[in-house]
Every structure is written in C-alpha cells, then in structure tokens.
C-alpha cells in the first residue's frame, strides 16, 4: 500500500520564479492538504483540496495556489518566489469525505536564492 508521495524531493529556485510541487495521496484517500514547515517550526496549513476544489485555506497569500486532479493527486504552485518561501512543503492526505486523520508525505525541500 503506497503512502503519500511527493515530487521533487529537493528544489532550488531564484527569487521571482515560479514553482510547482506535486503530491499523490495514499491509496483510498481523496482529500489532500498542503503545509509549509519552516526550519525549527511546526507545519503551517496552506490549503486543502477535496473533489477538485479548495475546501479550506490558511493564512497564505494568493501567490500560493493549488489544483486537484480527478485521480485525487494535487499540485501546489507558488508564484513570484520570495526568500521567505524557503521551507519544507508537506502534503497530507485523508480518507474519503470526512476524516480527521491526515497522513503525511516526505515533503519537498524548496530553497529560494
């Protein structure tokens, strides 16, 4: 049973560029959430996707956007990268419809120079 997978593992970008991160949920899950984890901090909720729509959003600017595909996989896009966007980006998936338990992937380490 494959868990949550994310790609790429690491990424280096320059200020002002755009980046796309990808996530495949755990088998049987249909809901995907994205978190940003800065060094030495706990993860912070960015948004959640369910049925291909953004269901809930955290306190992040519009530069952060996402998408969910019919196969439940998801993308996180960040435009106009800032140095402060450097962080570990975590994807979490949860079970069908309404579930509190979120299962996390290994993350994508984004470095903005």
């Amino acid at each position: 049973d494959a868990g949550v997978t994310q790609s790429p593992t690491h990424l280096i970008k320059t200020r002002g560029q755009q980046v796309t991160l990808r996530c495949s949920p755990k088998s049987g899950h249909d809901t995907v959430s994205w978190y940003q984890q800065a060094l030495g901090q706990g993860p912070q909720f960015i948004f959640q996707y369910y049925e291909e729509e953004e269901r809930q959003r955290g306190n992040f600017p519009d530069r952060f956007s996402g998408h969910q595909f019919p196969n439940y996989s998801s993308e996180l896009n960040v435009n106009a990268l800032l140095l402060g966007d450097s962080a570990l980006y975590l994807c979490a998936s949860s079970g069908r419809g309404f579930s509190y338990e979120q299962y996390f992937g290994p993350g994508t380490r984004l470095t903005v120079t």
């Binding site: 706990g42 912070q44 909720f45 948004f47 809930q56 975590l90 509190y100 338990e101 996390f104």
Partner: protein, 114 residues
C-alpha cells in the same frame, strides 16, 4: 486565535528515563488532538490521537497522552524512553467539524542518550 504551545523545545534524556512533553492549546470549541513524530530522515507519522471518550489514549511504541479539558492540555508520556525514540514531536489540534486545518505546535526535539 487558535494556537498550540509546546513548552519544551529541546529535551535530553538518558535511556530508561521517563518522558513527559507538554502541550497546551487555545481553541474555542470541541477539538480533536494528535501527537505526530518525525524520526530523523523520515516523514511525519501519527503517534496517537484523541477524538472523544477515555481521555487517556494509548499510541504506538508505548506512548500515551492524557487530555485534560479543564487545562486545555494534551501531554505526551512514556514511562521508559529508548535511544530509538530520538525524534521531533509535534502536538496538533483540529476543531471538530473541521477536517482541514491541523494547527501544530512548534515541536519538541527529544534526544535520548544511550
């Protein structure tokens, strides 16, 4: 504002010592509570959870946590730690009826000396 506070940022223990990591939350309503663990080089894993019922919950690897509603606390305990428990521990809360936004504490790094 909704928040989670973990009192200990870095804890160092010897093997066989007892562990208690503090977690307090601020949330206006019924909550569901979690402890996640991140072992070195691995992803976040669920250690235990509380949804309702018995406030003393048991998780994997001998960990347990007690929900004290009056104190808004959900402390993590283990009677005897092992070197393999070296990891970062995160307390998290989500409001009942809200399946999206897990609110995490800033984490506690536990180092167990052999």
């Amino acid at each position: 504002a909704q928040s989670v506070s973990q009192h200990n940022h870095h804890v160092i223990l010897s093997e066989a010592a007892s562990l208690e990591l503090g977690c307090n939350y601020s949330y206006g309503g019924t909550v569901n509570l979690f402890w996640y663990v991140q072992y070195p080089g691995q992803h976040l894993q669920l250690l235990l959870k509380y949804f309702s019922g018995d406030p003393l919950v048991k998780g994997i690897k001998g960990f347990e946590a007690e929900f004290i509603k009056s104190k808004f606390s959900f402390n993590l305990r283990k009677p005897s730690v092992q070197w393999s428990d070296t990891a970062e521990y995160f307390c998290a809360v989500i409001g009942s009826g809200n399946t999206g936004k897990l609110i995490f504490g800033q984490g506690t790094t536990l180092q167990v000396k052999p």
